[in-house]
Symmetry: C2
Subunit: 319 residues, 2 copies
């Protein structure tokens, strides 16, 4: 019962909740490593979650995501809010050197105890992706950060899924980046709650905003529907950032009032629970009572003795 047993889960959770950065870091490492302790960690965190506003930030490379995130952290701090940042690269199987390099700009906030910044390497398999981000979010939420920013690296399908799992999703665009049409094609118009046209001092910013406005068809929405704001910013100069913060607040208020917040969180939890259950099943199939059921079935399918659907039926019956 020594107080030095700093790997004990209840102690770690308590210290994270008391604002100890090293404990927060350790808990997120347990998430990244898919530690067997996670079960206990998540059980201990659960009652303390639900306070933070989880904000997803996505957009094509080159729109100024890191600069915008950095500026947003500053503005949120000025508004008295503590901020956790997760930079996630779901499409890379490698822990990202470039990503970490990018983080250097975030050193603006390195000495601020109200800011915690973490790059997350992804395992490159969907199970890990589906649960590592929400679990890391849960750590920061339980640790008491008012806002958790989840910044994704690209605009692939999995990045969009990560960003869309937030309470509020910010989509960044910039002039000359292929404009709004590109955004429509990438499927990010549907997921944006707040649109930011960054680098608004450049030629074409007004056109991007105009295109966005017409594609979003804001006028056609029902009375109580959400109407995404479109904010022009120059993140490198801090321009327009307070307006983005205001839009985050407006969306938070709307989504609480309409019940959308609960629905989104339920959807996020659903994906997470399903991923955990599927992974548990896969482990079981790998070794059913010492026999390798799935392997035996796969041999039959490979030899054409059995079709894959019949094999799957057999697997599920054994369960």
């Amino acid at each position: 019962m020594s107080r030095r047993a700093d790997h004990a889960v209840p102690d770690l959770v308590e210290r994270a909740r008391a604002g100890e950065v090293r404990a927060v870091a350790r808990l997120i490492s347990l998430v990244e490593d898919e530690s067997p302790l996670l079960r206990e960690v998540m059980a201990a965190l659960a009652p303390h979650t639900g306070h933070a506003q989880v904000v997803g930030i996505t957009g094509s490379p080159g729109v100024g995501k890191s600069t915008s995130t950095n500026a947003l952290v500053g503005a949120l701090r000025a508004a008295g809010k503590s901020v956790g940042v997760l930079a996630v690269d779901p499409s890379s199987p490698f822990s990202g050197g470039a990503l970490l390099g990018d983080r250097i700009r975030m050193q603006d906030h390195a000495s601020d105890p109200g800011v915690y910044i973490r790059s997350m390497a992804s395992r490159g398999h969907l199970g890990g992706l589906a649960w590592s981000t929400p679990q890391a979010v849960r750590v920061l939420d339980a640790a008491g950060y008012d806002v958790v920013l989840v910044e994704t690296v690209g605009v692939g399908q999995s990045e969009i899924e990560v960003a869309a799992a937030a309470d509020t999703t910010v989509v960044l665009l910039a002039p000359g980046m292929g404009d709004g049409i590109q955004a429509a094609k990438a499927g990010i118009l549907e997921i944006g709650d707040v649109f930011v046209v960054n680098k608004a001092d450049r030629e074409g910013a007004d056109r991007v905003r105009r295109d966005l406005r017409s594609m979003l068809a804001l006028g056609d929405r029902p009375e109580d529907a959400w109407r995404p704001g479109i904010v022009k910013t120059v993140a490198s100069a801090g321009q327009g950032i307070d307006e983005v913060v205001a839009e985050l607040g407006r969306h938070r208020e709307w989504s609480q009032r309409t019940g959308e917040l609960g629905r989104r969180r339920t959807r996020r939890a659903r994906v997470e629970v399903e991923a955990i259950a599927v992974t548990a099943l896969r482990r079981r199939w790998d070794d059913v009572g010492g026999r390798h059921e799935l392997d035996d079935l796969a041999v039959d399918v490979a030899l054409g003795r059995l079709d894959p659907y019949a094999a799957a039926d057999t697997l599920l019956r054994q369960d």
Copy 2:
């Protein structure tokens, strides 16, 4: 029992096996659409599979994948083999216009009944990816094509997985494309059975080959291990392509002799069976006896009343 009931599965399968292209196309459309008929289709195809050599082709954009595939089809035809081609874009949620445009070059073979070419749109979710490609391969295999070429579009993690699921995997490189080091970083050295340095008339081709050779450490392999060939080609001029075909034959012979072929096919079947089983379970969880078990659990998790592991346990116990 009208012979005009051309959607009946046994009839479709019979016609595909008799070489009717429209029947082959219809069966692959059933795969793409995740048709409820698939179960019946796969059961009917199973006894007729196992003949084709399934060849995965991968490499970065710009190395000349389409041109190489095109040249390879020509050389295989000249060697008397019939060829099915699947062009798969696993990372895109869209059916690819650009991809189909690329296919136009393949029109070289449009009037040849010994060649079937198909671009496959992916559903953008792992379940679909994990089973749609092997199922489409199974259609072409059962239809009697001697070689099935699976060409992937990019070099993301999922492209690598698709290519690596083949009997034989060809990795394409080209000078000036970031060379072999890039290949090592992308994780494609491990999956290559045959390496092709395309655009070998350009400066730097020998260096790419030299780099590859040292990175593959061919000398350090055990006696009976596979030693990947490294072939220089100029696909646009048809140079070196016969050598690639010879390497495909050499790998086929080696993998049959050593049992590697059976192991790879078993591995492929395993992924497919697992994906089908998981999808079946997900459908079940969505609606267990009229109740939405998973939804109820997700609400509890979202509200912090339950942790996601405990919720997953409950889900699996209900099963």
